[in-house]
Assembly symmetry: none
Homo-oligomer: 196 residues x 4
Amino acid sequence: MQAKAKTFTESARRAQIVAAAIETIAELGYTRASFARIAKQAKLSSTGLISYHFANKEELVRTVLEDVFREIGAFMAERMSEPASASEALRTYLEANLEFAAAQPTRMRALLNIFLGGALDYDPANERAALEPVERILRWGQESGEFREFDVHVMATTIRRSVEGPVFLLAGTPEPDLTAYAAELVTLFDLATRRQ
Amino acid sequence: MQAKAKTFTESARRAQIVAAAIETIAELGYTRASFARIAKQAKLSSTGLISYHFANKEELVRTVLEDVFREIGAFMAERMSEPASASEALRTYLEANLEFAAAQPTRMRALLNIFLGGALDYDPANERAALEPVERILRWGQESGEFREFDVHVMATTIRRSVEGPVFLLAGTPEPDLTAYAAELVTLFDLATRRQ
Amino acid sequence: MQAKAKTFTESARRAQIVAAAIETIAELGYTRASFARIAKQAKLSSTGLISYHFANKEELVRTVLEDVFREIGAFMAERMSEPASASEALRTYLEANLEFAAAQPTRMRALLNIFLGGALDYDPANERAALEPVERILRWGQESGEFREFDVHVMATTIRRSVEGPVFLLAGTPEPDLTAYAAELVTLFDLATRRQ
Amino acid sequence: MQAKAKTFTESARRAQIVAAAIETIAELGYTRASFARIAKQAKLSSTGLISYHFANKEELVRTVLEDVFREIGAFMAERMSEPASASEALRTYLEANLEFAAAQPTRMRALLNIFLGGALDYDPANERAALEPVERILRWGQESGEFREFDVHVMATTIRRSVEGPVFLLAGTPEPDLTAYAAELVTLFDLATRRQ
DNA sequence: TATGAATGAGCCTTCATTCAT
DNA sequence: GATGAATGAAGGCTCATTCAT
């Protein structure tokens, strides 16, 4: 009944399973990431153990998402602390996103594979959650006069998708220059947002 | 090269199956669009009938893609004929894409679900094919002096993804204002690309 | 209703289908010789045509057997005409069988694949029919005093199977020396049968 | 090389499935021995259970073969220990083969149905393995002077097929006299092989 | 006669999940 | 907590056969 308190062992097992799920989903895509394959990746002896720790596949996937989002959140929080201006915040947002993709390509691929692989019935809440920090920056810039008038939702959607773009590059190219990519995006959206 | 001539009946059946597949893939995603569900959608008596008309699932999906691409191609060709300048071409490209998404939301969703849903092992060639028309416009603009210097690939990727953005909105919202959305994108990328 | 009289066209079609079936069964084995593959081999446009000419697969297979048996029978009849003695008849029987296998390897393989491939519920009548000519020779030899006393059925079975032995060699080896093989068998069964 | 250690339960299940497969293959032939029928014979709830214990049908069949070969090997090893001469070895070989067929007719039929039923793409290695013990006896006899000169391969093939001959009889006849059959074969091949 | 189309049963396999131990 | 075992639904696909034209 009690929903929260987990023993240490249980937490460790769940973490191990989640890590294996991320690895597997990143490598094979969501569809092919069956319990059998995740268990093998985690060197678990039975898929039953996954079912034991997670009510069903959906809960496992949800946990994977939470885990990845928490990491991204922590990473972003560190970079984004106390920006002096909205345009600086936007620049940092773009750079930090691509840095994270470069640093954690597996997590990033898993994330995309989940969203793209039909894992979840499309849930607008997820998109709203991802968009919200960007929209906050954009509104800040418009209020401060740094940014021109534009539809915040459209701009935020475009920005969000722009940073997802290079993730797939990471599979093929060994060392794609994400720093340069980030610089291009920074310029692009600086021009697109700033008051003329 | 030349495919065997199809009889009228066969063409009709194939078209019916393809239509049902589009509907089903758009609604459920690629993974859950099983032959059984497609057959039910098409009111067929047996999944065997799908196998009778298509060698395997891959061929069916490929046919779906061809069908959608042909429609998009025809639609775009009509809009894009004889643009006077690169910036006009870019504007038209953005507008036409969103118009098509508004006119054929189901086809558009199916398309994305196939590409994003792990239906195909990720093939850079597909992405290159989608990017190529955009990159041509961008290079034209740079050569003509209309556009500033920027990395064509990054800009093209960002543009391409920006027009995919609103597709999923179409499921929830009955009449999203894609005209306004297009106008925002046009301004956004005009500012981002033009020589200052 | 009328069981026998076939039109010319029908006979030709049936012959064409039977020939294709032999080819296909010889190449792929009975199990994989589906109507679809036989139709392709015969360049027929529809498997329905096979069903039109043959009540079911069993009838087709039975017809194949009759066809092959008729050929073997004709071939053997020519060789075996008027043997001077039982031992000469036996020698000729062995030689003629291997000659036929060398001359018609496809028919021979098809024959074996049918018997071995579970095509027919095992029917002792087939075996009896194959054994009967051999047993006749053997009884002749015993009655004439050329052959010693032995169990005719055992000897006939052994002889029959001995000539089936080399058929599979024909697949792998381009030019197996069936003449030498026949000579060995002739000596073998001469020693095994003759009065000491 | 070393297969993963099986638990007792798993071994028992596998044995049960193998037994059911033997029964089914012997009765219906390889082709008609589907997982569904084997499962029914074994009173299993689902064909999935067979797939759970065996990677695929090929592995099941391979296991059946190993099982039958192990039994035959043990049976033969006992009979064939320390023959005094090649001709005694040959006699024992013939007798032991027919005894085994009499004692284990189901296993024997299954074996033949697998080899003859197109279960395996025809593999000369299998035939060589079956022939090898016979050829060893024959070479021994030729070297010791007991046997006349003859082509060892032809003789071995004929002997091998001669002992397979009566296996199918076992289905129809309740108590075929395989002892008498063996005696006939012993005489036959004694005459055929011995130095005159 | 011949054709293309359709049918529905059956094939092997994979899957998430459950359960006794 | 963890394991191996079992379940039954569902997957894509092939098959022999039937039928309207």
